[in-house]
Structures are given as C-alpha cells and as structure tokens.
Subunit: 175 residues, 2 copies
Amino acid sequence: METYPITIGGVTRHVPLIEPLPGRRIPLVEFLGDPELVRAAAEALKPLVPKETEVLFTTETSPIPLTHVLAEEMGLPYVVARRRRRPYMEDPIIQEVETLTLGVGEVLWLDRRFAEKLLNQKVALISDVVSSGETMKAMEKVVLRAGGHVVARIAAFRQGTPGLEVLTVAELPVL
Amino acid sequence: METYPITIGGVTRHVPLIEPLPGRRIPLVEFLGDPELVRAAAEALKPLVPKETEVLFTTETSPIPLTHVLAEEMGLPYVVARRRRRPYMEDPIIQEVETLTLGVGEVLWLDRRFAEKLLNQKVALISDVVSSGETMKAMEKVVLRAGGHVVARIAAFRQGTPGLEVLTVAELPVL
C-alpha cells in the first residue's frame, strides 16, 4: 500500500493514501490506536484553545482520543456528539451534516443531558481533520441549539479549503 | 432524572438510571467526556493486564478513552473495531455480535490493515461494561480470525453474569 508522511507536533507517521473519489487521493490520518501521535497533536493544539474555554466539543469517532487528551491536559470537560442514535437518548438534538462530497447523509446526535452541559458555556470545537468544513458547521449548529457559545474552531489537520475559518496546526495534501 | 452512585478507582459519579427493557433499570456509565473517571478506571484496570500483553483491543465508541489512556500508561498500541463500515476499509473482518437483549444486529468491522496489527500478537480485550458478554465473545472471534491470541478479557464494570470469564474491578446492579 502506498503511504504518505504526515507530521504533527514533531511526530511523523507514514499513513496510507486512500482514494475517496476517483482521481483524488488523500492521506488517511489515524489517531485511534496511536497514543504517541495523539499526545503530540494535543500538545500542538493546546495553544490554540482560548483561555476562556469552558468545555470542548467533538464528534464520534476518530477525534475522541485527541479531544480526551487535550481535555485532560487542560482540566476541561468535553462533550461528544454521536453519529448514531443510542437507545438511551432522550429528547436529543439531531443535526444533519451536509456532506456533498460523500453523497451520504451524516447526522449528529446529542442526548439532552449532554446538550445541557453546553448551555451558556464557552465551547471550543475540536476535530482531527477539517476538509469541507461541513461537519464543523453542523457541530457549531448543535452548540448554538444547545444554548452554548462557540469561542474557537480547531482541528489538527487542514485538507483543502474549509468553508469556514478553522485553526489548524498542520496540512494534508489532496494528491 | 433518577441517578445511581457508581464508583471505580476511588472516583464516584451519580449516573442516570435507564430502562433498556421494561422493568429492568441499569445505571448508565459514561466514560466519554470524563477524563477524571477514565484516569481512575485505567489505573484500576492496569494490574489486570497480563505482563506479556502486546496490544489492547477494544470496540467503538464508549470504551475508546479508557483503552487509550490504559494503552498510553502501559506503552502499548491498541486497535479499535468499528461499529460501522468506513468507506476506506479494504477486506475488513466483519463479525456479528449476538445481542438478543437489544434485538438489533450489531456488527464489528475491522479494516485489514488493523487486523494485521493483531497477527501473532498477545491481545488483551478491553471494555467499559460487560453484561451478557456477547460483545466480548465477538471481539475474541475477531482476534482469532486476525491470527492473534487472547491473553485476557478485561472490563471496568460487570453487570449481571457474563457468559464467559471476564476480569472486572467494579459491579453495576440491575435494579
């Protein structure tokens, strides 16, 4: 399998190149299962989190370890929007993600008792990779619907040109 | 919402009671979003992981932070079976989970390049809560199909009587 070198926080990984659309190859960053890479990325992202931030907000699944380590480092709680409805959810916030590139309808689910943790809070959105920015936009809508205030949009990697302003520390090519 | 106190590694949380089946109430442990609880649980689980363990294996989503912190603490890599097919997967291991209690067919997906990380490895299975043990059994099948060897089955909480032997450090009631 062809690989591509990616570096964040001084740690390099040779990751596989995948082809989500014909003729468009991108490196597949994988934070799940890699504590050293997650630690390096969390350290690199830390300075981007505004001092007034009260809670971090992310989505299932791949950004979870990164957000967890960042939250623990900063002494902050975090909230995770799910990608599937869970049986125990009550009165969840349900937010569509416009993912034209993939052609499949993604949805974010946030159980009400977690939505309550965002109410009147200063929230930083955390992601691993931002590309079109549609997931980030949907996350922002979830926070607003939950009564929170977005103080920063942060991702480890930027890929292409997101449709909104996002703070990132490294770039991924579209080959 | 009615709550129930759960304790692990000296940390207590008052968690919601949910009713997955009529007349059967269980406390809903939530590791996602709670770095302090995850850290305490990881410290409590650490002595249960056999010294010869070479890789940890878990499933999406709720056990991910626990497994991540445990892996980082022990200097081990970990592998995560997904609950949904991801577009980039090639030749994945697909394993049904027999979940009679929920009545819905759950499936574990493990991309081949992660399955390769289990080949000939001594693997400890990690979960947050074990109840019927069916997910744990499916995890074990995935490891065997990937050519790995299961050296331990470990969960933070036991709930009821699992259908196989699992090491745990705390118990959840069925009320």
